[in-house]
């Protein structure tokens, strides 16, 4: 079981109002993927995640497994579980390469 853990040096925040705006768009089935919902700062660089990235990021706590996170994300967006898990893992591996998270083996 893979358990992602945030790099504690990453400073981040959810963008007030914009998170809700993105969800409104998602519920109305409008484009929301391009909205920067969560802002991160690491090593002097500043970056944003969209709604899906933000929902994954906020569930990364060093305890939740990839399976649990992707299950919740799939339920939120009404996506297929298997495809979602693949996408969530790909996303986490991508931000892992940037040093924003580490992926470790969880117990149990």
């Amino acid at each position: 079981m893979i358990v992602p853990k945030r790099n504690p040096e990453v400073v981040w925040r959810l963008e007030k109002g914009i998170h809700a705006m993105a969800w409104d768009k998602a519920r109305r089935e409008e484009d929301f993927e391009d909205l920067g919902v969560l802002t991160l700062m690491v090593k002097g660089g500043i970056h944003q995640l969209n709604l899906v990235g933000a929902e994954i990021w906020t569930r990364v706590n060093g305890i939740n497994t990839v399976e649990k996170i992707s299950g919740e994300v799939a339920a939120l967006f009404g996506w297929e579980a298997e495809e979602t898990e693949e996408a969530v893992l790909g996303f986490l591996e991508g931000i892992g390469e940037k040093g924003w998270v580490t992926l470790g083996e969880g117990s149990g």
């Binding site: 400073v11 981040w12 925040r13 959810l14 963008e15 007030k16 109002g17 914009i18 391009d34 909205l35 920067g36 802002t39 700062m41 690491v42 090593k43 002097g44 660089g45 500043i46 970056h47 944003q48 969209n50």
Partner: protein, 331 residues
């Protein structure tokens, strides 16, 4: 990605205008603003925390001259803000370094402008200031406080910056900020003596950018939008052009809000105005976020990346936000 920020990522706050140095480039030395009282300063922290501002950086004057510095910082840290400051280092002894660590500073920047003590001391107009800055840097590292070295690139050091980078690395700094000279305040009065020509800026960046990209074991940061001219964007920049009014704001010692410390245009007051309304509704900030190409910027292929370069420099020299950056070397 379309960038929307509900508030600034960083607020630079001049918690005091007082300083024990009289540096020849200082943007704030001519500012007679009184500083906010301790209770007012805590209200500022409350407002910034409520707005989810991520970083609070004390600049302007010498922060350690403010008596409530540590109490204010502890309060800000307790509210979730990451607090940093820039200091000339002269007041940092072992006890102050320990207090800085205990207060929870996220990082401290010490100003060192040359690896040659005599050049630094002359630029800072303070004999012995180099030794004090280096001592402060070492004491902070001994306490485990994350350190940055902050340097203003100008006539006195633009050819010698590699030695400066080596010194910063030797001192244990994680980053050296090579700030470009701004002709605001005292810097405006001493522009002729200190500012580089556009060609000199080009030569500097053509030498410095490869050094930044070579992974020297220390981050080299410039924060200069005219770097776009070299096709070299700073990593993780998020917005094009100047960051002022887009990622950051400045609060003067008296509480007035300006886009940055180098643009003396008040857009509101931190204690009297609704901060969110200022951030989202200020016409000046709106202008800075949507600059128009004028002069040689019109038709320039780089405009979409640099947005005319540094707005503060353009405003200081030409009196308009949209004028081309006077440091731009493009014909």
């Amino acid at each position: 990605m379309t960038t929307y920020l509900s508030s600034p990522v960083t607020v630079n706050w001049g918690i005091t205008a007082r300083c024990n140095f009289v540096c020849s480039h200082c943007f704030s030395r001519l500012d007679p603003s009184p500083e906010l009282a301790p209770e007012e300063a805590r209200r500022v922290v409350d407002i910034l925390a409520e707005q989810s501002v991520m970083f609070l950086n004390y600049g302007t004057g010498e922060p350690l001259l403010r008596r409530d510095l540590f109490e204010l910082t502890e309060y800000a840290v307790s509210k979730g803000l990451k607090v940093t400051m820039n200091s000339n280092g002269s007041l940092i002894d072992a006890a102050a370094a320990r207090r800085i660590r205990e207060a929870g500073f996220h990082s401290v920047g010490i100003s060192i402008d040359s690896a040659a003590p005599a050049i630094h001391d002359a630029f800072r107009r303070m004999p012995g200031s180099f030794d004090k800055a280096v001592r402060a840097a070492r004491l902070l590292r001994e306490e485990g406080v994350p350190l940055t070295v902050s340097s203003v690139i100008c006539k006195v050091n633009h050819r010698d910056f590699p030695a400066l980078v080596s010194l910063a690395k030797e001192l244990g700094a994680h980053t050296i900020d090579l700030h470009n000279f701004k002709c605001s305040g005292m810097g405006g009065l001493n522009k002729e003596a200190l500012d580089l020509s556009p060609e000199e800026w080009r030569t500097f960046y053509e030498a410095a950018v490869p050094m930044r990209d070579a992974s020297m074991g220390i981050e080299i940061a410039f924060d200069d939008p005219i770097l776009s001219l070299l096709g070299s964007e700073e990593k993780g920049k998020l917005v094009a052009g100047s960051v002022c009014g887009k990622l950051s704001l400045y609060i003067k010692p008296n509480g007035e809000i300006t886009p940055c410390g180098f643009i003396p245009v008040t857009v509101g007051h931190i204690l009297r105005d609704d901060f969110s309304q200022v951030w989202h509704g200020s016409k000046v900030l709106g202008h800075l976020r949507d600059k128009e190409a004028t002069g040689k910027c019109s038709g320039c292929a780089k405009f979409s990346a640099c947005l005319g370069g540094c707005t503060a420099r353009a405003y200081a020299v030409y009196g308009t936000y949209d004028a081309p950056d006077p440091h731009c070397w493009k014909e």
